[in-house]
């Protein structure tokens, strides 16, 4: 019986932690990708060394590079049979190449790509790519909500900005102009979708109020005080009145308060 109980506990513990184990126990779809990445890194480092040092590579860098190359050769030889060895070789090679690339790099302080650094050195092409992706999202949402917003103008602006960037005549103003347009479209979508959103929230709250009423009846039977129930009922009335007046924002706020109150009531009668 004791063994049985231990076995059951083991099964339960294993079941609980198994989900986290799954994440680690992954496998490459094709182990050759390790070789592809390592070879690409090797070539890149080789180019960087040639550019930075020519024929006079410092001995410590040279030693690391040779170790990296050896790891790549070992990785090549390990495939396809010894996957475990290949993985070790891959990680070793990439660790060494990373170390070398940092040594080759100028000793500049590490910087995060923040908004402030972007302002100083803006990459307009990346900014345009991001905005274009955002506009695509807005188009999909706009279509869904039947807003009738016409995107022709913004499409033309994107096209024009792209051309200017390609011909190196673009200025940050065109991106700022685009951002301004995008913001106004976003606002229009928000305004147009507010009716649909209100209906959705309305339905949700009405459905939830039924559940809350049941909970309150149960709590009342279990000994909740009349004051507690009265307060909850008052909030329910407030929500209903807000919904009737189409004041969804207020209904949402009061609903949050009601939820909190119901939880407290349930806790108090437990």
């Amino acid at each position: 019986m004791k063994t049985l109980a231990l076995f059951t506990i083991f099964v339960l513990i294993f079941g609980t932690v198994s989900t986290s184990l799954v994440g680690d126990a992954y496998a490459q779809k094709d182990p050759n990708i390790l070789l592809r990445i390592a070879t690409q890194a090797d070539e890149q480092i080789s180019n960087q060394l040639e550019r930075s040092y020519g024929n006079s590579i410092p001995s410590d860098v040279q030693t690391l590079y040779l170790q990296g190359q050896t790891a790549v050769v070992s990785l090549k030889n390990s495939l396809p049979d010894d996957i475990e060895q290949a993985r070790e070789d891959f990680l070793m090679a990439m660790k060494l190449f990373k170390q070398i690339s940092k040594m080759i790099s100028e000793p500049i302080e590490k910087s995060t790509i923040s908004k402030s650094t972007r302002v100083a050195d803006r990459d307009l092409s990346s900014e345009l790519d991001r905005l274009e992706k955002y506009v695509e999202n807005l188009k999909t949402i706009s279509k869904k909500h039947n807003t009738g917003i016409i995107f022709d103008e913004i499409d033309q602006l994107i096209e024009s900005a792209r051309t200017q960037i390609e011909t190196e005549t673009a200025s940050p103003e065109i991106i700022d102009q685009l951002k301004h347009h995008v913001n106004s479209i976003q606002q229009k979508i928000h305004d147009s979708s507010s009716d649909g959103t209100s209906n959705r929230i309305n339905q949700f709250i009405e459905k939830q109020l039924k559940t809350i009423n049941k909970k309150l009846t149960k709590a009342s039977d279990a000994g909740a005080t009349a004051d507690q129930i009265g307060e909850a009922v008052k909030l329910i009335d407030q929500i209903k009145s807000s919904i009737e007046n189409n004041d969804i924002d207020n209904a949402k706020l009061v609903f949050h308060e009601l939820n909190k109150l119901v939880k407290n009531i349930e806790r108090s009668v437990r």
């Binding site: 019986m1 059951t8 099964v11 339960l12 294993f14 079941g15 609980t16 994440g23 680690d24 992954y26 490459q28 779809k29 094709d30 990708i33 390790l34 592809r36 990445i37 960087q48 550019r51 993985r87 891959f90 990680l91 990439m94 660790k95 190449f97 990373k98 070398i100 690339s101 940092k102 790099s105 000793p107 500049i108 590490k110 910087s111 995060t112 790509i113 923040s114 972007r118 803006r122 990346s126 900014e127 790519d129 991001r130 992706k133 955002y134 949402i141 869904k144 979508i189 979708s193 959705r200 929230i201 339905q203 949700f204 709250i205 459905k207 939830q208 207020n250 949402k252 706020l253 949050h256």
Partner: protein
């Protein structure tokens, strides 16, 4: 032919321990062990999906742009009975945030620091997209992407980038539009890359870090020294100005407070139905010169982010305060024209 059926595995026990013991073991086998095992397996089967259901991304896809900013798109299972969902973002410098529910319905959301509060109201799956500037850093020519991912994810690297360092084993790698796309497992991941140079073509300029030829190197060094000196002087001047500025600001705020903001008591008279806890917030803002950051309010009243956010929204609804975005934070200001509106 023997008509008697004797289970083979009990034959031995019969001989050694007697019928009574054998029968007991059989009962344990048939009555206890199997149902227990079945129950355990059911519990395990039930636990596993619950563990990975709500709040865990179904999909997570990242695209790194050449300037190091990253586009994040994720699909998350959320509780359909909850009114909102608090999404932890991978950083705090967020642009172009969009959250949509099922059927592409736009969801109201508010990005506060490094989390987003999304009003889900019945949605069971939400899709979120945003741009973030916190995941990639740069040291010299080397760009480093680092992320503690909650699930497996795909990462599309910029065009012409070459991976030169990795701390994890990739699950897969594909080429998408001439770019490397990696599939990586959950957990901490760090990838170092640099923009590829073509050594066969002479004088090719690295798209990100133009390499200067030796002729220009000395000019660059002199320019660098001059630029550093200018920056240094500017910083010193600004820091001196900052010391003076708060005193000026303080004076201005005090004056403004006297002239423009109405005191808390007047607000309570104008809004008699205001909640007691909200009154405390209003009093604090009023004492603070008519404005305070939401983070300051949280610290002062030791409230969780969502609770304070709702309180502030409630005050905004009651037209007592107005919310402004300042330095990526919510600045809560008492409305100046309350009396006039009344």
């Amino acid at each position: 032919m023997n008509p008697e059926i004797v289970p083979m595995h009990r034959k031995e026990s019969l001989r050694e321990d007697g019928m009574l013991f054998v029968r007991t073991e059989g009962i344990v086998d048939t009555m206890v062990k199997i149902p227990l095992l079945v129950a355990s397996m059911i519990i395990v089967a039930a636990i596993m999906p619950i563990q990975s259901s709500f709040s865990s991304p179904r999909t997570l896809d990242l695209i790194i742009y050449p300037d190091g900013s990253t586009h994040v798109s994720t699909e998350i299972d959320v509780d359909p009975f909850a009114t909102d969902y608090e999404l932890d973002l991978f950083g705090s410098t967020i642009d172009n945030f969009v959250a949509v529910g099922e059927n592409e319905f736009l969801l109201t959301s508010d990005v506060i620091g490094n989390f987003a509060l999304i009003e889900t109201f019945g949605s069971s799956v939400i899709s979120v997209e945003y741009d973030i500037h916190d995941l990639v850093s740069k040291q010299g020519r080397v760009w480093t992407f680092s992320l503690d991912a909650p699930s497996n994810f795909t990462l599309l690297l910029p065009k012409n980038s070459a991976i030169v360092g990795m701390t994890n084993l990739p699950i897969n790698m594909e080429i998408v539009d001439d770019k490397n796309q990696l599939t990586l497992s959950s957990g901490n991941a760090e990838i170092n890359y640099l923009f590829s140079t073509i050594p066969t073509i002479p004088n090719v300029i690295d798209p990100v870090n133009p390499t200067l030829t030796p002729d220009y190197l000395s000019y660059a060094l002199i320019g660098g020294v001059v630029a550093a000196a200018v920056i240094g002087v500017t910083i010193i001047i600004r820091s001196k100005q900052k010391i003076v500025k708060p005193i000026q600001d303080q004076q201005l705020t005090q004056t403004a407070q006297k002239i423009e903001t109405i005191d808390a008591e007047t607000i309570f008279k104008l809004r008699p139905d205001i909640r007691e806890d909200d009154k405390e917030i209003v009093k604090f803002i009023s004492d603070n010169g008519g404005q305070a950051f939401e983070s300051e309010l949280r610290k002062k009243f030791l409230q969780p982010r969502t609770t304070m956010w709702r309180a502030v929204k409630r005050l905004e609804r009651n037209e007592i305060v107005e919310i402004e975005k300042k330095d990526l934070q919510n600045l809560v200001k008492l409305r100046k024209n309350m009396e006039e509106e009344e």
